[in-house]
Symmetry: C2
Subunit: 165 residues, 2 copies
């Protein structure tokens, strides 16, 4: 799936990887789980991308580093990463769970093209303010929100006018 980049954040630094690993390790200790090579490998692969990965895609990436790591472990680890705040699920409307990293990321949102599936990220602090405000109004302790816009991107519109239905 394509991915247009609006912001150009540099690829993740050694420091950040270490810090994220620490977060994971602390989380594991806290809930009485074990630190394993597989979990670290998966975390590292995950951090090395900026895409909205499906479990399948991440599994493929992980396999390049260690072909013995199975599907199931990737699923389970992704859940762990979500638990400790390193990853979060983004539901595009294609029936597949996708994850992105949440570590050191400004709150951002997605606009998805319903024809080609490409997406842009955008930032909109107003939305976080809204979250606060609505939460207060209805007495919810809010934790997060999702905001997605669906539409048709410029390229697809061009294609459509060239080859009309």
């Amino acid at each position: 799936m394509l991915q247009k980049r609006i912001d150009d954040q540099p690829s993740i630094s050694r420091e950040m990887v270490r810090e994220a690993q620490d977060i994971l390790h602390r989380h594991l200790k806290r809930v009485g789980l074990k630190q394993t090579a597989q979990r670290d490998t998966i975390l590292r692969s995950f951090l090395e991308t900026r895409d909205h990965l499906s479990t399948d895609e991440l599994h493929r990436l992980v396999q390049k580093k260690d072909a013995s790591i199975g599907y199931t472990t990737v699923y389970r680890t992704l859940k762990l990463l979500a638990e400790c705040g390193l990853a979060s699920e983004v539901a595009f409307h294609d029936g597949i769970a996708r994850y992105e990293h949440q570590y050191n990321r400004r709150s951002h949102h997605h606009m998805v093209c319903t024809e080609c599936g490409s997406s842009v990220e955008f930032f909109s602090p107003e939305v976080s303010q809204l979250e606060q405000e609505i939460g207060r109004r209805y007495h919810y302790a809010t934790t997060r929100h999702t905001f997605q816009i669906y539409g048709v991107c410029e390229d697809c519109r061009k294609k459509n006018s060239t080859r009309p239905a």
Copy 2:
């Protein structure tokens, strides 16, 4: 699943049902499909609620009117309703597709409790403005958006403080 109502719209009138049925029938004619008793029954059941129905829940409701109507038909009809704008899918984060009616509804959004699954609806015109604005900025022809807030509702917080983890 629970459903707290913030706005109190009266239950749907005969008029509205008729109008919605017309919309469906016109849509069917337009795309060369047929008008059937099942489709009308399903539409009527759908309109009679204000909840965010899963296909399963709608199927159960429909069966009270006509026990012979099957699962598959409900799925297929719900898709038709979505096509002609009478229904729209709302993705809470529980892995089930839910639908709500869209006919004669102001643009609204959901706040979902991650503990008990109950939800409130709220209205926020700012969000639609944002959709326009972001779409213009990145040259997308936007069609719709989703905005959901997740958090813990007052009741669940009370329960938690009574019976701490």
